[in-house]
């Protein structure tokens, strides 16, 4: 059953009561909130996600709750909570959706150690995963969003989720936070995309969430093996360049950008070694999406 099959009242009853239990890739998530604006946003933006079956265990229980501030008595604040803990300070009510999404990402990054978690976007084409590892600000969310509408299946804009023994990658198609200038780019290029409200004033500036496509969410149980690793960098005015990257450099970049490389120790060392040895490694510099798409298509054809 999809969230879309719930009326707003039914969704509200779950969010206010026992929790909305939704699938997020290989994880199950329970969300609670009584904030009317967030309930309306989730009714729209989570409509494509499946509900968790009753007999399934939920890994993460999170909620977004209203907060009062003695210093700011008239401010309408909210805070993200996971298992009685508050990893972020209170923020304005308008940032509830962004805080929920970042909070869930934080919980995944902090708690999941049965996967090797790369700080990376990941998409699938022709049955294989294209991994796009990058530091924040490199444009991987925007690139992922664009690729998702041009023949690629979204795995994630944030996590490369690798089962370390098998080397298999797992999809985790969650809402993607477009930031600042990229919002208009995506609005203009992808008028069919389902976008959330504009959320100004976050730590990362103005944010608008884009919902993964129906196809990406519906195929989120279909894992795939990696074949290409491309380190992307958006650079204003740059001509597109897709250049070979030495495997040693790819290893270094991947190992240092994984969330839990040191936690997994030798398992991670072996997993990254096998990953790099089995993939074509490139670095991509671009300023124009169509040019980037052309070189990525050429790389991933056949």
């Amino acid at each position: 059953m999809k969230v879309a099959q719930l009326s707003l009242n039914e969704l509200r009853a779950l969010l206010v009561g026992p929790g909305l239990r939704v699938k997020a890739g290989p994880f199950n998530l329970s969300i609670r909130t009584r904030l009317p604006s967030l309930i309306r946003q989730l009714h729209s933006l989570y409509s494509r996600y499946s509900l968790v079956e009753e007999d399934e265990i939920v890994e993460f229980h999170v909620q977004v709750i209203p907060r009062r501030s003695v210093r700011r008595p008239f401010a309408r604040l909210i805070q993200f909570e996971v298992d009685g803990r508050f990893p972020f300070p209170p923020v304005p009510l308008e940032q509830a959706l962004a805080t929920l999404e970042w909070g869930v990402n934080l919980v995944i990054a902090a708690r999941i150690n049965h996967f090797l978690l790369f700080h990376s976007a990941a998409v699938e084409r022709n049955g294989h995963v294209l991994l796009l590892p990058a530091w924040p600000g490199s444009g991987k969310t925007t690139l992922s969003a664009m690729l998702m509408y041009h023949g690629y299946r979204l795995f994630s804009d944030e996590f490369g989720l690798m089962e370390p023994q098998s080397g298999e990658f797992y999809p985790l198609p969650r809402l993607m936070p477009l930031k600042n200038q990229s919002i208009e780019v995506v609005r203009n290029r992808l008028p069919e995309a389902m976008l959330g409200p504009e959320i100004p004033g976050t730590l990362k500036g103005t944010v608008v969430h884009i919902c993964p496509t129906q196809a990406s969410i519906e195929q989120s149980d279909e894992t795939a093996r990696p074949r290409w690793i491309v380190f992307p960098k958006w650079s204003a005015g740059a001509a597109v360049r897709l250049e070979p990257l030495p495997q040693s450099e790819a290893f270094l970049l991947l190992a240092t950008n994984a969330f839990n490389y040191e936690v997994l120790g030798k398992t991670a060392f072996n997993a990254v070694t096998n990953l790099v040895r089995g993939c074509e490694c490139r670095k991509l510099v671009y300023s124009d999406f169509d040019e980037a798409l052309a070189v990525l298509n050429a790389l991933t054809d056949g």
């Binding site: 030495p246 495997q247 040693s248 290893f251 040191e262 030798k266 060392f269 072996n270 070694t273």
Partner: protein, 94 residues
């Protein structure tokens, strides 16, 4: 003073066309070494060696021209390796 490698032969090493990754289970760290960095560990794993002996073996292996700064560079590398727990100081008789 002599130096010896600490369990080097048990460490996983991967060769990336002349660059090497070495995983150290005790610290959970991965080290990136060039060919000379790895050769130092290999020599000290075969038998303890002084700085002079080590420099002589490295010079022969890499056919290096005499360089007065070379021993100082190797000494700094040894100090770094010692801090990482990759090598240890030993008495001559050990």
């Amino acid at each position: 003073m002599f130096w010896k490698a600490c369990n080097f032969s048990s460490l996983p090493v991967e060769n990336w066309n002349g660059e090497f990754t070495v995983f150290q289970p005790e610290s959970g760290k991965t080290h990136f070494l060039n060919e000379m960095g790895l050769k130092i560990l290999i020599i000290l794993d075969q038998s303890p060696a002084s700085l002079d002996t080590l420099c002589q073996k490295l010079s022969e292996y890499f056919t290096l021209q005499p360089d007065v700064q070379f021993p100082g560079q190797i000494a700094r590398t040894l100090q770094r390796y010692e801090a990482l727990g990759l090598i240890a100081r030993v008495k001559e008789s050990e």
